[in-house]
């Protein structure tokens, strides 16, 4: 007997078809994975079940929850279901909580609303569920505000809100996408335990095949609002009957082919031959002033980057991995001379970058560029591609003429697989993957020797991600450009880098050949990362065993 039954569900928003004949069912105690790339209609399916769709939405078909016809239910009936029988967890924990209310108020609110319990009783129950999701009273009293918690802790609060009344169905829409792998593993464990404890049904929505494989009994693959394939996780992913399933699995495990790079080859991980190093960082430290304790007194400063030394050879591709908040991005900003170190030195091509004026940094800037994570936020929407990609050209000694500029932009676009006519378009005319190609074109237009890439593929769908990784690999071979890849995703590190540095609490705790470190991590921090990282191969193998 199914708890949730979605039959022949179609949805259109403002006349645009979003879902076409979607079929789905969730039984009590069962975990269903709903997988698809962005725009496939995963979230809209969830919002249909919650009846929280945007205006101008039209639905047809049948959605039954626990015998109730959801699409025909009144708003009052839906209010009674939401938060009581159906709980929902969202993707972005940083914005999912009301910033002006305490976590206690926010958890207790739903309890009071549904059970008509008094304030004291609701707070008592809120306390219990917060304890259950791993936020004990000693450190997390009810009076905490969301901004005092980290992303992982906030997601626990959101889960507490959703599970406070022991719902029959929990819908989790990309619950761990914004978290680092260690937190992701913890949150997934928590969800698994809650499902088992309360015999809940769980509809887990994710773009990450590995996560879904680890969690779900059955899997439904969605594309362009249509179900491509559905069935037992092990069978669907091992047999890969449907071509799209095969494409998705292959893209998830994709490792780009890399031309061995001569310069990178003789690079040593010990940093013994420092001669000819492209980048040399020594005893680098960045302190952030401590929190103000009173008008005149400050607390201990935070050591965001703590006594870090490493070197990179020309053409070498190095991954900098670590959990969120470990200091990766601060380190990268200092390498790019966007932030000043508190102490230590950075030599780039033999030249000391620390303490230089912006004008003196120009030659160095020409040789180092950056690619950011978010392909949507990193472009001014009101400028054309030609100007956006040509942006770094102002660091050249000789400012190129208009014609030269167009030629250089055309060339850069060509190198990243875009066409010349694209330079007269605006950013919104490109897809996420194409925009990331634009960021890469912008980064390589000055022929830099070093590109720092801060999570460059984590906002992309798996198939696009595979293409972008290929592009990075190709440019590494062709242009001999060195990469410093900042990522929390070990698959990416494995796919594209020669060496990996593991960062933990401001320090580099391990460095070595990528394969060696990821297969045989020595330090505790590296072991934790490797153990937590979802791995599709491993997950499928485990599912096969379980499901026969």
């Amino acid at each position: 007997m199914s708890l949730l039954e979605v039959e022949n569900l179609s949805l259109s928003i403002d006349e645009t078809p979003i879902l076409k004949s979607v079929e789905l069912s969730v039984a009590p105690g069962e975990v269903i994975g709903l997988v698809g790339e962005s725009g496939s209609g995963k979230s809209m399916t969830a919002l249909t079940v919650m009846r929280l769709l945007p205006h101008l939405s039209r639905t047809s078909g049948r959605v039954t929850f626990d015998g109730i016809d959801i699409l025909a239910a009144t708003e009052d009936q839906m209010c009674a279901l939401r938060g009581d029988d159906i709980g929902m967890v969202f993707q972005e924990p940083m914005t999912a909580l009301n910033p002006v209310k305490t976590i206690g108020e926010q958890v207790a609110e739903g309890i009071r609303w549904h059970t008509r319990a008094g304030r004291a009783e609701a707070e008592e129950r809120a306390r219990r569920i917060l304890d259950r999701v791993g936020l004990p009273e000693a450190k997390f009293p009810l009076s905490r505000y969301p901004h005092e918690l980290s992303g992982g802790q906030r997601q626990r609060v959101v889960i507490a809100i959703a599970c406070a009344l022991k719902p029959k169905l929990l819908i989790a829409d990309e619950p761990t996408t914004a978290l680092d792998v260690v937190l992701q593993a913890q949150v997934l464990d928590l969800l698994r335990d809650l499902v088992a404890e309360n015999h809940m049904g769980l509809l887990l929505i994710s773009h990450d095949l590995a996560v879904v494989t680890e969690m779900a009994d059955r899997i439904t693959i969605l594309r362009h609002g249509q179900v491509m394939e559905a069935g037992d996780t092990a069978r669907v992913l091992s047999e890969q009957v449907h071509p799209y399933t095969r494409q998705l699995t292959q893209a998830s495990m994709h490792v780009p082919e890399r031309r061995p790079n001569a310069a990178a080859h003789h690079a040593s991980s010990t940093g013994a031959d420092k001669q000819g190093a492209l980048l040399q960082v020594e005893k680098l430290t960045r302190l952030y002033p401590g929190r103000r304790l009173s008008l005149l007194r400050r607390g201990e400063p935070t050591r965001a980057v703590d006594d870090v030394s490493f070197s990179m050879m020309p053409g070498q591709s190095v991954a900098l991995v670590g959990r969120s908040g470990c200091g990766k991005s601060t380190l990268a900003r200092m390498v790019l001379a966007l932030d000043k170190p508190s102490s230590g030195s950075i030599h780039f091509r033999g030249e000391d970058l620390t303490g230089k004026s912006e004008a003196d940094l120009k030659p160095a800037r020409r040789n180092m560029q950056v690619v950011f994570q978010d392909p949507y936020g990193s472009f001014d929407p009101r400028q054309k591609v030609e100007r956006l990609v040509a942006e770094p050209l102002h660091v050249l000694d000789k400012v190129p003429t208009r014609r030269e500029r167009r030629e250089m932009v055309a060339h850069a676009l060509h190198e990243v697989g875009l066409a010349e006519p694209d330079m007269d378009k605006y950013p919104h005319e490109f897809s996420g993957g194409q925009r990331q190609r634009l960021s890469i074109a912008r980064a390589i237009i000055t022929r830099p020797k070093l590109v720092v890439a801060d999570e460059p593929v984590s906002a992309l769908d798996v198939s696009i991600r595979a293409q972008i990784l290929d592009l990075f690999a190709e440019l590494n071979g062709k242009l001999g450009v060195a990469y410093l890849f900042i990522t929390h995703d070990l698959t990416v590190a494995r796919a594209i880098t020669d060496e990996v540095m593991v960062m933990h609490e401001g320090r580099i705790v391990e460095r070595g050949k990528t394969g060696e470190v990821l297969d045989h991590p020595q330090s505790e921090a590296a072991q934790a990362l490797v153990a937590a990282a979802p791995d599709l191969h491993r997950a499928i193998a485990r599912r096969m065993q379980e499901q026969g």
Partner: protein, 315 residues
């Protein structure tokens, strides 16, 4: 929290000092010799010079500034040139009219704007929203003295509910006094309410798109409850900011409105003082208004800290 408030207080003090310099400097530059004005056109040069000495107008600039500021601090605003009474007496006499007027107008405009903003935001794009925002557009465009005239015509001339102008004084009783402040307060409040309603609406609409609104809805709370409990408080910050800024316009508005309604308030006092070159009164009243505006904005900053826990820091 304390650091935040201390910083705000410091900024307010600096602003006040700068404002006093500007006010003093402007009135130094303005043409017109108060001594000559007091003595009339027929006075001799020697007489004028003597009076200037007597009034301290011949002292060096810095000395006069410091004298003026220390006077302000000890509530000794000097003597009016034209009325020949201490300025403080003049001001106190008028404040009891202007302050209640401004406060009633502020309260009225808030009482109109917030519900209208809530209504419009929750029915975005519907007919009710269009009507409310059309009215607000009109309210922003039409000057307050025109409202004043219309109100006088409707309620005083035609319906005869309230007096058309003048102020009986608080000694005549609270109700008659309030009654004569009612129309001017409404005239002042309407344009303010119109602006505030639009700000409230757009702030709410922005907040309603936030993720935490969806979280609240997923808890099973009806739309209306979410609007009141979650959206409104988050939308208050821009609303309170505009309220603080609008307060200055409200005070400026009283100058016109007090003239229209013939109210013996600060606005009319400053207006008369300017035409009579009674510089000492102008300086004092302007400084008083500036101080009020700064105090109100300080209050706004404190309100931020109450509304938004992120500004308070860890408690």
């Amino acid at each position: 929290m304390i650091a935040y408030l201390a910083k705000r207080l410091g900024i307010a003090t600096v602003t006040l000092v700068l404002a006093s310099l500007v006010v003093f400097a402007v009135l130094e530059i303005v043409p017109g010799d108060p001594a000559r004005l007091m003595l009339g056109m027929n006075a001799s040069e020697a007489q004028v010079e003597q009076l200037r000495d007597q009034m301290g107008l011949n002292a060096p600039l810095i000395e006069r500034y410091l004298h003026w500021v220390s006077g302000l601090l000890s509530l000794d605003f000097g003597r009016s040139y034209t009325y020949s009474v201490p300025v403080i007496d003049l001001v106190l006499e008028r404040v009891v009219v202007s302050l209640p007027l401004a406060l009633i107008a502020l309260a009225l405009s808030t009482a109109i704007a917030i519900p209208v903003g809530l209504y419009s935001a929750s029915r975005r794009g519907a007919a009710g929203d269009a009507v409310a925002m059309g009215a607000a557009q009109l309210g922003v465009a039409v000057p307050n003295f025109w409202f004043a005239l219309m109100l006088v015509y409707l309620f005083a001339v035609w319906l005869r509910w309230v007096p058309a102008g003048g102020f009986p004084g608080w000694s005549a009783g609270v109700w008659p006094a309030l009654k004569s402040l009612l129309l001017p307060a409404i005239a002042l409040a309407l344009p303010q309410a119109a602006i505030l309603a639009r700000v409230t609406r757009s702030a709410l609409i922005e907040v309603l798109n936030e993720d935490y609104i969806r979280t609240a809805r997923a808890k099973g709370m009806p739309y209306r409850a979410v609007l009141w409990r979650h959206a409104l408080r988050n939308a208050l910050i821009p609303v309170v900011t505009i309220m603080g800024l609008q307060f200055a316009f409200l005070l400026a508005g009283t100058i016109i409105i007090e003239n229209v309604f013939y109210l013996p308030g600060l606005g009319r006092l400053v207006f008369q003082a300017i035409t009579q070159r009674d510089l000492i009164v102008v300086e004092s009243v302007v400084m008083l208004l500036v101080a009020t505006v700064i105090a109100v904005n300080l209050l706004v900053d404190f309100t931020y800290a109450i509304v938004d826990p992120r500004l308070r820091g860890r408690s």
